[in-house]
Amino acid sequence: MKRTIPLLITAIGGFVLIIAFFSSYTQSWGEVAAIWFDILAAIAFILGGGNLMKIHLKKISDRKAGWAYSGVTLIAFLTTLIIGLGKIGVNPSEQFPDYAWSGSYREVGGPFWWLYEFAFKPLTATMFAMLAFYVASAAFRAFRAKNIEAILLLGTAFIILLGRTYAGVWVTGWLPEWLEGLKLENLTVTIMKVFNTAGNRAIMIGIALGIVSTSLKVLLGVDRSYLGGGEE
C-alpha cells in the first residue's frame, strides 16, 4: 500500500499532464495538476528545512569531522528563518498600519534586508567570482593539445575568448570586407550559431527521447527506483 498509492499518484498525474497537453478539452485537468505541483513545491521547502535540520543536528551530535560547520549552517538557517518569518524589525505597511505583520519582510533597513544585503549577497557573489580563479588555474594545468580533438577545442576556445572581447577587433579588424566572415567577432557568431547549435540540437533531441522512455517507465510503474527502498 505504501508503494501502490505513490505509484498511482505518479501515473495519474503524469498521464493527466500528457493528455492535457495534446487535447484542448482536457486542458483544465493539466492546470489543476500544475497547481497541485506548485502547492507541493511550496510544502517541499518545509520538508527541505526539516531535512537540513535533521542531517546537521545528527552531524553535531555524532561529532563527525566538520561538525562545527554544521553548527554555523544551523545558526544561519534558524536566524534567517526566524527573522524572515517573524518579520522582526519590520514596520507595518502604509496600506494596513494597524496590522503589525503587514509590512514587507524585505523592507529596506530591516534585519532581513540587512542579512540579505550584507551577508547573503556578498557571500554568494564571492563564491561565484572565485570561479574565475579556479578556471584560470585549471586552464593552465589541464587544457593540453594532446590530440586532434583537443586542438580543435583549444582553437575554438581561443576564437571565442578573443571574439567575445574587443581583442577580436584589434586582431582581425584589418581584414578586408570580402574576408568579413573571418573576423574573430564574426567567427564567434558562426561557431555559436552553426556548430554549437547543430551539436546542441542533436544532444537535446537525444536527451528528449531518453526522457520520454524513462518517463514512460516511471508512469507505467516499470521503474520504481524513485520510491526508494522499503517494504510494500
Partner: protein, 308 residues
Amino acid sequence: MYEFFRDLDRRWIFLMMFLCVAVPIIIIGATGKTFPEEPTQLVRAVFDEIENLPSGSKVLLSYDYDPASEGELAPMATMFAYHCAAKGHKMYFMALWPVGPQMVDDTIENIIKKDFKDLKYGEDYVNLGYKSGYEGVIKVIITDFTELYSTDTRGTPWSAIPMCHDVNSVQDMDLIVNVSAGYAGTKEWVQYAVTPYPKLRMVAGCTGVQAPLLYPYIPQQLHGLLGAIKGAAEYEALVIEAYGDKMARKDAGDNPLTDDNGDYLIPGKYTEGIRRMGPQLVAHLLMILLIIVGNVIYFVERRREGRR
C-alpha cells in the same frame, strides 16, 4: 624561468587573475574610457523586439537569477527595465527564483523610482514577486495568473491593481523578457510558454554558460538573446544610442551633459556592462596566455621524456 613556470604555484595564477581584473576596473573607473561595442544581430533583435512594440504594450519581465550571477546579469536587467520604461511599456515584474524579488526591487529602486518618477506603481509597473514551483508556475500562469498571483508583493489584490484589469494570463502579454541564471529560466519559459503558445514573443538575457544551450531555440521560439556581459554591453550601446539624451546627466536647465567629444555623459549604472568588458578582455588574454604557457611546458616535458 622554465622551472618557475613548470612548478608554478597556483597562488601566482590567482594573483595574476586578481590583477587582471582589478587594474582595468581601477583604470576604467579613473579615466572613464571604455571599449566601443558593435552590437551583433541577436542583440539588435532583442532591442528591436522592445523598441518596435507600441507604447503602452504589456511586457512581462521575469528576473530568474540571484546575487551569485548578479555581476553578469544585473546590467542587462537594468537596461531591460530602462528600455521598457523609456518606451512607455507596462511592466509586470515576477521571479521564479526565491531571491528574484530582491533583484526586481533593486531595479525598481535604482531605475524606475529614480529616473522615471512619473511612473506609478500599479498603473505603469507592478512587482508580482516570487512563487514556488519553477516551471509549474509557468504552466499555471500561462492560462490564468490569478490561480497563483492573487496579490502582488505588497499584498494588493489582483483585482485592485489597475494595470492587471485586462490581464488574465501570460498570453495577454505582448512580450516576455527573461533574465536567467539557470533552472528555472529561459529554457523553461521557452518549453512551457512559447512552444505551446507560439504567438507569444520572447527575448532573454542569460549567463555565458547558458547561452550555447539556448541557441537551438533561436529564432523560432526565442526571438533575441543577450549572452553574458558581452551581450549586456552591446545592448547598453544600442539603448544609449537611442535614448542617450534622456539617459544622460542633466545640467541645471535639464539639458543633457556631454563630454569633450560631444558624447553624452551617461550615469555609471547604465554602462555597467560596457565598463566590465575591460576586465573581461584582460582576463581572457591571461587565460589564453596561461593555456599557451601550459602547452609549451607540456610539449617540452614530452620531448624530454622521449629523449630518455
